[in-house]
Symmetry: C3
Subunit: 370 residues, 3 copies
Amino acid sequence: MGLYLKNCWYVAAFTDEVTRTPLARKLLDIPMVFYRKEDGTPVALVDRCPHRFAPLSIGRLVGDDIECGYHGLRFDCAGKCVSNPHNAGKALSAADIESFTLFERYGFVWIWPGEAALADTATIPHFPYLEDDSTWRVLRGHLEVKGNYQLVSDNLLDLTHAPYLHPGFKMPGVTPEQQLAATTTSVEKTDRSVHYYRHRNGLPPNQATIDLFGFPAEPAISRTHMHWYPPALIDFDNGTYFEGQAEMDGFCFPQAHCMTPETEITCHYFFAAARNLKIDDPAIDDALRGVLNTAFRTQDEPMIEAVQSRMGNTGDIEALGPVMLKTDAAPVMARRLLKQMIADEQAGEIGQAGETGQAGEARQAEIAAE
Amino acid sequence: MGLYLKNCWYVAAFTDEVTRTPLARKLLDIPMVFYRKEDGTPVALVDRCPHRFAPLSIGRLVGDDIECGYHGLRFDCAGKCVSNPHNAGKALSAADIESFTLFERYGFVWIWPGEAALADTATIPHFPYLEDDSTWRVLRGHLEVKGNYQLVSDNLLDLTHAPYLHPGFKMPGVTPEQQLAATTTSVEKTDRSVHYYRHRNGLPPNQATIDLFGFPAEPAISRTHMHWYPPALIDFDNGTYFEGQAEMDGFCFPQAHCMTPETEITCHYFFAAARNLKIDDPAIDDALRGVLNTAFRTQDEPMIEAVQSRMGNTGDIEALGPVMLKTDAAPVMARRLLKQMIADEQAGEIGQAGETGQAGEARQAEIAAE
Amino acid sequence: MGLYLKNCWYVAAFTDEVTRTPLARKLLDIPMVFYRKEDGTPVALVDRCPHRFAPLSIGRLVGDDIECGYHGLRFDCAGKCVSNPHNAGKALSAADIESFTLFERYGFVWIWPGEAALADTATIPHFPYLEDDSTWRVLRGHLEVKGNYQLVSDNLLDLTHAPYLHPGFKMPGVTPEQQLAATTTSVEKTDRSVHYYRHRNGLPPNQATIDLFGFPAEPAISRTHMHWYPPALIDFDNGTYFEGQAEMDGFCFPQAHCMTPETEITCHYFFAAARNLKIDDPAIDDALRGVLNTAFRTQDEPMIEAVQSRMGNTGDIEALGPVMLKTDAAPVMARRLLKQMIADEQAGEIGQAGETGQAGEARQAEIAAE
C-alpha cells in the first residue's frame, strides 16, 4: 500500500466516463464506484458493501441511490445506508460507507480523497484552454500505466529525454546534441508548485509541426514550459512561433497531464491536449492523435513500465539511490515537495505548505553536480 | 495456508471422476492423487513422491499400486512404498506416504483428512434423494470457485439474496419487497448443525416452476429449508405445492451442496439436485441445467469471487469486521460453530461438539440488530 | 533471491545470440544486457541505467558503447559512463555500472559473475567435440525451465529415470527391470568434480540407435558417463559399440549440458549434442532433434517443472527432506560439493576446493541405504 497525499485534488475520470452505469475504479489503493445522480451530479463511494463486501459497482442505481446486487442494501450518494430491505426498508447507520468529494471542471471529474471540509476548488490548477471551444480544439486520452504515478511526472518534468525516446519530435537536420545545446532551461519553485521552463531559439520547428501546419523549416522560437502542482498535475505550455510574431499567431499546443495513483506501482494517466490552429480539421485531429499515441503509448508508457520493472515492488525511486543529473532538478524538487507535504499531512499539519523557498534551495544543491 | 477441520467428511470428487486414470486434486492445501483399484475401490494418496517430489498423478497404475513416473518407486493404496526398482524391487518404508480414508455414497467420493480411526460414516448427512433412481432424477455439477469455501455456504444459508442476484427466480407480478415480506424464517441450531427454514404462503410459484411443470400462477406454499453440517455441507430441501396437496404431489427439488476448500481462498463446489416430476424428460434436464448454471455459474460464483477479491488474501470474512444483519443469523451460527470445532480440534479435543445450545443462543444475540 | 556461486563460469548464451542488437537476459537474479563490440568481442553489463533505471537493452549501440534510450547516458563495454550529453558529453564516474567477464568457447558465451581477477578460463571444462567440425556434427538447444537449475543437473546425474520418463530410449524386448539389472554404475569424486559412470553390456542398442544408424538389435556395449563440474556443467559421454570394436567406430553421442540460474526457481538450460556418424545427413539432424526435443522438452522439462511446483518457492530440494536412494549418490555429491563451495565463498575463502575426498566418502555414506 502506498502512502498518498489525501488533502488534494486528483483526476478520477473524464466527465463522460461517469454515467448512470456504475464505474468501478481503484484510486489510491481504494476501490471506488462512480455514477451520476438523476440531475447529473457525479458521485463516488467506496466500492464495497460493508455487509458482505460485494462491490457496489455490480449493483444497480435506484434514483440517486445505489443498491447492492447481493442483498439489496441501498446507499445514498453520501454513503448513508438508507434502506435495509430485510428490516422493512429502514436505514442502517452502522452500514454507512465513505463517500468522496467530487468536482467537475475542464472535462475532468476531480476527487478530494481527504477531509471534505478542507476541499477548496480554488486549488485546482487553471487549464483555460480546456474550456474555450471557440479558440481551442481538445484531444483527450487515458493510459493505465504499470508504474508509479511519480515516474510519469518525472518523465514530463525532464524533457531532455525527448531526442532519445521521441525521435519523431526531432527537427530537420538537427542532432540531439545540437538540440540540447540550443535549449536554455530554468527551474522555479514556490511552496506549492515547481515550474520548469525550456526555451529554444534559432532552430527550425520540429518535423510534425512543419508537416501538419505548413510551417517553414526556418529558425523559430519554441517553448515547453511545465507547471507542476501536487500531487502530479502538470500544466504543459508548448508552442512554436517566429521572431516578431505573437505566441497565439504561432502554433500553441497546451496540455494538461494529470496522474492519479491506482496502487503504489500502477497509475491512471489522463491527458488533454489543445491546439489553436486548424481547430475544425478532423484530419489534424487524427494526425495529432497519432503523434500523441506514438509518444505517450508506444514510447513513454513502455519506458516507464520498464523502469518500474527494474524497481521491483516499490514506487519510490529515490529510495533506490539513483544517480542524479542537473537535469533532474525539476523532478527532484517536485518529488521532495510532495514528500514533505505527505509527511506534514501524516503528522497532522494538514494544509500547511511543505517547505520554504530556502529549504528548497538547500535541497536543490544536494543534486549531484556532474 | 488455511486452518481446516480435519476430522470430518468432505466431498473429494464425484464417483465418476475417480477412475483408472490418476486424478490430481488439491484439497485443504494438500496435493492429492485419486484413482481406483482393480476392484473399483477408490484410493487417495499425497500426490508427491517423497524421493524427488514428482507428482504421482503423472505416473501410472500397476495393478492396485501407483508407480512414480520419474524413477519408478511404487506405492500401494495405503501409501506404503512397496517397491524400489533400484534395490531389486524391495520395499522402502522410509518412503511411505500418507493415504486418506475414502467412502463412496450418494454419487460422491467422501474424504476424511484427519485421523483414520475416528472416521465414522454415520456422520455423513443423509441425502436419500440421491440414492433412489425410481423416484428422483439427479443433475450434478462441479464449480471451482476462486473464493473461500465458507463464502459459498454463507451464500446458501442466507437466501435473501435471491431476489437481487437471481432475478430469474422471481414470481410473476411480485416485487422483491413483497417476496421478502411473505417469507417467514426461522433458525435452529444443535451442537453439530444449523437449520434454516424459509416458508412462503400465498404467492404464486416462481416463473421457472410455472414454465417447466405447468403449475398455475396461483397462491402456493413453498419451502426452502437448509440443513447445514460441518464443515460446509448443506442439505437443501426446496419445494412448492398447493394448499391441501401433499409435498410429494407438488414439485420437490432437494439438493446437496458440498463445499471443500482447495486453498484458503479457492474451493471446490459440488452440487447434486434431484426432482420428483418429469424425471424421464431430457428436455426438463436441459432446462433445469440451464436454470442451475445461470444461478450458480453466472450469478453466485461471480458474486462470491468479487467478494473474495474485496477481501484480499484472507478467507475469514469475520476478521474483516463486516456489518451483520438479522438475516446473517444462520451463516454466522454455522461459521462460529465450525470455528469452535476447529479450535477444539487444534487444542486436542478431537471429536467434541463445539458448543452448547446456550452458548449458541448467546452468540446469536451478538448479531447486530438493525 | 537465490544464493549462487559467483567465482565460476556459467554459460550466458550461445555465441550467435550475442550480436549488435542488445540482448536482455537475467542470470543469477541480475538483469544483464549482452552485445558485441564492432570487433566482435562480446560485452555484458548490468541492464539498468543508474540514473533512472531504464533497461539499457532498450537503448542503442554507438560504436562499442551502449547509449541509454531514456536520457542518453553512454556506457563503454567496461561499464564506465563515458558521456553525459546533458553536461557537454563529459564522463560521469558516479554513474559507472558493473560489467562482467566473458569468454567465448565451444559455441558458448561464458560469464564469470564474480571477481574478475580470479577468472581463469582453464577451469572451463573441455568439450573437444564442440570444436571439431570435421569429425562431429553438433545440434544445440536452449530451454527456459521453470525450475531450480540444480533440479536439471540432478535429473542428468541420475539416469535411472530413463526407462520411466523416456520410454522412447528403450531397447527392443527389454524391460525397465532388465535394463536396470544389466547396468553397472560407479561414482567418483574429486575436490571440484563428480563423475558418474554407467556401463551396460549384453543388451541390444536402444531403438533410436537401431533406427537411425542401422545397428543390429544384438548385444552391444553402451556407456553414459557424466562428468559434473560446478556449478551445473555436465560433460555427457554417451555411446554404443559392439564387442571388439573401437568406441569411435560405434555411435558416439557426447553432449554438453550447461545450466545457469535465472532466479532461484527458474533457469536457462543450454545443451549441445555431437555425433560421429552420418554427420552430413540433414535427415539424421532432424531425427535427432526430434529425439532430443521429445526427451528434453516433453519429458524432462515438464517433470522438472512439476517437481518445482511441488517444492513451492524454494529451489533447495534438500531443505525439504527428500528420501534419498543409492541412485542419488551422484546428484547428492554434486549438490553438497556446490553447497560447500558457496559457503566457502560467502565466508571469504574464495577459490578453495569445497571438501576433501574423505569428507565426501563420509557424506556419501549418509545417503539412506534401502
